[in-house]
């Protein structure tokens, strides 16, 4: 049995302890916003937050998140809004993704947004070198120049 919260809702799943969180979220809970890209923590498409920190769910066994709070892309805006009932429907990062017209195929962007959200929460005004080191997700469509512009805009906002 594995018990953890996803976007504020507690789930108890009868799954193996070594099942990666990604497949528990996708195939067991049917939440498909978190993507499968590589299965070896290389591309970051599967990034979710555990207690606010970005992790790659494809290599994180459910046993490692027992009793933890997991936020996926579907719950990001609500998690960021917290107790602010007048917060917009999208987080600032998500809105910046629309403003800068970042996603192309969009498949990697759930993970990219989760990675950047956690990154900016811990470093609100990153240098370019810090962005390079902190954001390592793969985007095959090459949205990087726009991601960088959006991060810079968010950092100075």
């Amino acid at each position: 049995m594995a018990t953890f919260k996803v976007n504020g809702v507690e789930h108890t799943l009868d799954v193996e302890a070594d099942m990666p969180l990604l497949w528990a979220i996708r195939d067991e809970l049917g939440m498909t916003g978190t993507k499968f890209g590589c299965g070896i923590a290389s591309c970051g498409a599967c990034t979710v937050h555990v207690n606010g920190n970005a992790i790659r769910s494809c290599v994180t066994p459910v046993s490692a998140v027992e009793g933890q709070e997991i936020i996926t892309i579907e719950g990001l805006a609500v998690a960021v809004a917290g107790t602010n009932t007048s917060a917009p429907d999208l987080s600032a990062v998500q809105q910046a993704w629309i403003d800068h017209q970042i996603p192309q195929c969009g498949y990697c962007q759930s993970g990219m947004i989760m990675a950047v959200s956690s990154f900016l929460a811990s470093n609100p005004s990153p240098t370019d070198a810090e962005i390079d080191a902190g954001i390592t997700n793969v985007c095959r469509c090459g949205s990087y120049p726009r991601v960088r512009k959006a991060i810079r805009a968010l950092a100075t906002a």
Binding site: W23, R26, C43, A77, C105, Y107, G142, S143
Partner: protein
């Protein structure tokens, strides 16, 4: 020879008995069928791409896949502008995968331009291909959506619908159509101050005969086209709600992990699945001709159990083939055969014999995988004589047809459920059937939906690859250092003409292709032949310039007297990049230009070498002449995307064969440009006002040569083989920029 596109359309109209492109807007039966089969309540199709409901909401059906190129928005902009619709009340829908929305005529348009539609036919013999099958396509590829479907069908549909709405209003008011104007989804009669919304007129308009030749707007009349309009697919892509093929889900769904024959073209001989079958969640092990699959109640369980399956595949001579063998075979073919003609101008052999000097250089590029972020997957649910299916694809209609044919069902009994596509780049075109077929055969064994998923390793090792290609060059110079002959022998096949696409005014040219077939399956890869041939041509042109002692930019300009569009983009990119001006110490600029898919692109790469003697690409300055820009922001995004895609291949990309099988498995073996290695990109759109060019592909071809031409200046080493990562630049000997 390049046909004039508009003339081609007219010619097609005569030859084919209906207007070839855009006919769906003007052939009356189509929108009547749409009205009969697709509408609910009182809404009406006015033409087959445009639906207007009584509340004046306009829905535009786009018969192409959205893979991030922004075509749902761009094509809708084109229809809406001609319709004089209110953009605020436009709905955009992916056209359903039914023959009503086939776009096979666009394939014919492409074939007319290039001679053969091999770009999506793979190695299928086109002449043996039934016209009916050719028509049953809904292809998104060849950078065609905006320039063919958009510029002809969608605009024509919008303009035709507008004229029909005007006629309907004129009939109601009993006034001449010339007294009526349209604006924001309304028809106005200014003389009387009366107005109808389009919604009020749609039912009447739908009964009218669509005009044969509706008048399209002049660019000065555009209200929507030409503006940087936000893409309609983006909001769903930031909150996790966008559905891709892999996101098909139901409570009773089963999941298949599959092992295909690791050596291409071999069959499954035997399977010991006893251990796999004992694993938790495993339902069944399915044996297919060339593969074995484990079906379980969760993909991870299926994949884990698959690793316990002991599968034996037949032995094959191909097991002994490595990349080195293929390279040797290519070199042998080039040495032994003069190949067949791709392009012959003048007498290059004689010019080489009589030359004051000749330079030779041998180039090669490896196989490349597509590596879309969404691994290949397909979900099929067969129930009796009908089926549902989900897959991310560049051609929904042909995927439906393929599943129907493999499952033995009537095509109209298969429902294709639309999703976004997590990257295509050519991998998800028809004829790359290797996992659609498998998913269908596996699903035939069950009465619940079965989702077959490639792991990243499967995706990389069971692709249809950009071919490995060798190209051996010679150039002849006269006593005054003028280049007089260009001689190229390369390994095929030619999927779209690339090598012969050389625009340079060299008097004698001999370009010939020799057999390059291997057991490795190949297909179109973003920009197809241009991806390799532009690297070859633009690198060797740089060698020619350096040998002649002429600045490579000037050399190109001199040899492009007959090609003003090439010259213009070169000029704009060079000036914007500061070509010829002082650069930071240790930086150099490389330049390359190519026309592909109707667009002209010049790129200047600013490069330096780091402490480990590896190149850093700081900035790429690009100028593109795509005729004009329907959505300038989308144009820029596609340029950025195409450059980074090509840069990943240039720096890192190689698929190698060991023992007949692909050696690379996942991203560390097939690295991508990431944030830290992504250059700044500056895009300049040159609006020549010529016919629209494509955008999905044309930015990819020039980048490799732009970078390696800069590396030559920095290191004195000419990179004649990609990827760049395999080169040792530790003994650098910088070259003076001429």
């Amino acid at each position: 020879m390049k046909m004039n596109r508009r003339r081609f359309i007219l010619a097609g109209a005569v030859a084919g008995g209906g207007v070839l492109i855009g006919y769906s807007a003007t052939r009356p039966t189509r929108h009547r069928r749409a009205n009969a089969e697709l509408v609910q309540g009182t809404e009406r199709f006015v033409t087959s791409f445009i639906k207007i409901d009584p509340s004046n909401e306009v829905t535009i059906y786009v018969p192409h896949s959205e893979m991030g190129q922004g075509i749902h928005t761009a094509l809708s902009m084109m229809a809406a502008d001609e319709l004089d619709a209110d953009w605020e009340d436009i709905n955009i829908e992916q056209a359903p995968a039914i023959d009503l929305f086939a776009n096979g005529d666009l394939v014919k348009g492409f074939a007319g331009e290039f001679g053969v539609p091999n770009f999506l036919m793979g190695l299928v013999n086109v002449s043996a291909f039934a016209v009916a099958e050719l028509m049953n396509l809904q292809t998104t590829g060849g950078s065609t959506s905006v320039r063919y479907t958009g510029d002809t069908a969608m605009r024509t549909a919008g303009a035709a619908a507008r004229e029909m709405l005007i006629t309907a209003a004129a009939n109601r008011w009993n006034v001449p159509t010339t007294e009526l104007t349209t604006e924001l989804s309304h028809v106005h009669h200014n003389a009387s101050g009366r107005s109808f919304s389009y919604g009020e007129l749609a039912a009447d308009a739908a009964l009218l005969e669509p005009p044969e030749d509706p008048v399209l707007k002049d660019r000065s009349q555009f209200n929507i086209m030409g503006k940087a309009i936000s893409r309609n697919d983006i909001p769903a892509k930031v909150d996790g709600s966008a559905m891709y093929g892999l996101d098909a889900h139901s409570e009773d769904m089963l999941y298949a992990a599959i092992k295909l024959a690791p050596v291409f073209g071999t069959r499954l001989v035997s399977v010991d699945a006893s251990e796999a079958l004992a694993q938790r969640g495993v339902e069944r092990v399915v044996e297919l001709e060339d593969s074995v699959a484990v079906v379980a109640d969760n993909y991870w369980r299926a994949k884990k159990a698959l690793e316990l399956v002991n599968a034996t595949f037949e032995e094959s001579d191909n097991e002994n083939i490595s990349s080195a063998d293929i390279a040797a075979r290519f070199d042998r073919a080039l040495a032994e055969s003069n190949g067949s003609t791709d392009k012959e101008v003048g007498d290059a052999e004689a010019a080489l014999e009589n030359a004051a000097d000749v330079i030779e250089a041998n180039y090669r590029v490896p196989y490349l995988a597509h590596a879309a972020m969404e691994p290949m997957n397909c979900t099929v649910h067969i129930q009796g004589d009908r089926a549902d299916m989900w897959t991310s694809t560049q051609d929904a209609l042909s995927m439906r047809g393929r599943v129907a044919s493999i499952a033995g069902l009537a095509e109209e009994n298969v429902t294709f459920h639309q999703t976004y596509c997590g990257g295509g780049y050519g991998r998800r075109l028809p004829f790359n059937w290797n996992m659609i077929d498998h998913a269908t055969l596996i699903a035939k064994e069950f009465d619940v939906p079965v989702k077959t998923v490639f792991s990243r390793e499967d995706d990389m090792q069971q692709d249809y690859y950009r071919p490995a290609v060798h190209n051996n060059f010679k150039a002849a110079f006269d006593a005054n250092n003028n280049v007089t002959a260009w001689h190229s022998r390369f390994t095929g096949p030619i999927q779209v003409p690339g090598a012969s696409h050389i625009p340079y005014g060299i008097e004698h040219q001999s370009i010939r292709v020799v057999d390059g077939d291997t057991h490795v399956p190949i297909a179109a890869w973003r920009s197809v032949d241009h991806s390799q041939q532009t690297f070859f041509t633009e690198s060797f042109m740089d060698e020619v310039a350096h040998r002649a002692g002429v600045n490579p930019y000037q050399m190109r300009m001199d040899l492009l007297q007959e090609h003003p569009r090439h010259r213009k983009v070169l000029e704009v990119a060079a000036e914007a990049a500061g070509y010829g001006q002082n650069l930071p110490a240790g930086h150099a600029l490389g330049i390359a230009v190519q026309e592909s898919f109707g667009s002209f692109v010049a790129e200047v790469a600013e490069v330096s070498m780091d402490a480990d003697n590896q190149p850093i690409v700081h900035k790429v300055t690009c100028a593109i002449d795509c005729g004009w820009a329907v959505n300038p922001d989308t144009v820029e995004a596609q340029i950025e995307s195409g450059i980074i895609f090509g840069l990943s291949a240039a720096l890192y990309g190689e698929i190698t064969l060991e023992n007949g099988r692909v050696a690379q498995g996942n991203f560390p073996d097939y690295e991508m440009v990431r944030m830290a290695t992504s250059p700044e990109i500056e895009v300049h759109i040159v609006e020549s006002g010529e016919a629209l060019g494509g955008l999905g592909e044309p930015a990819t071809p020039p980048i490799a040569a732009a970078v390696t031409n800069a590396i030559y200046i920095l290191t004195g080493q000419r990179v004649r083989e990609l990827p760049i990562k395999n080169h040792d630049f530790s003994r650098s000997n910088p070259v003076a920029q001429v």
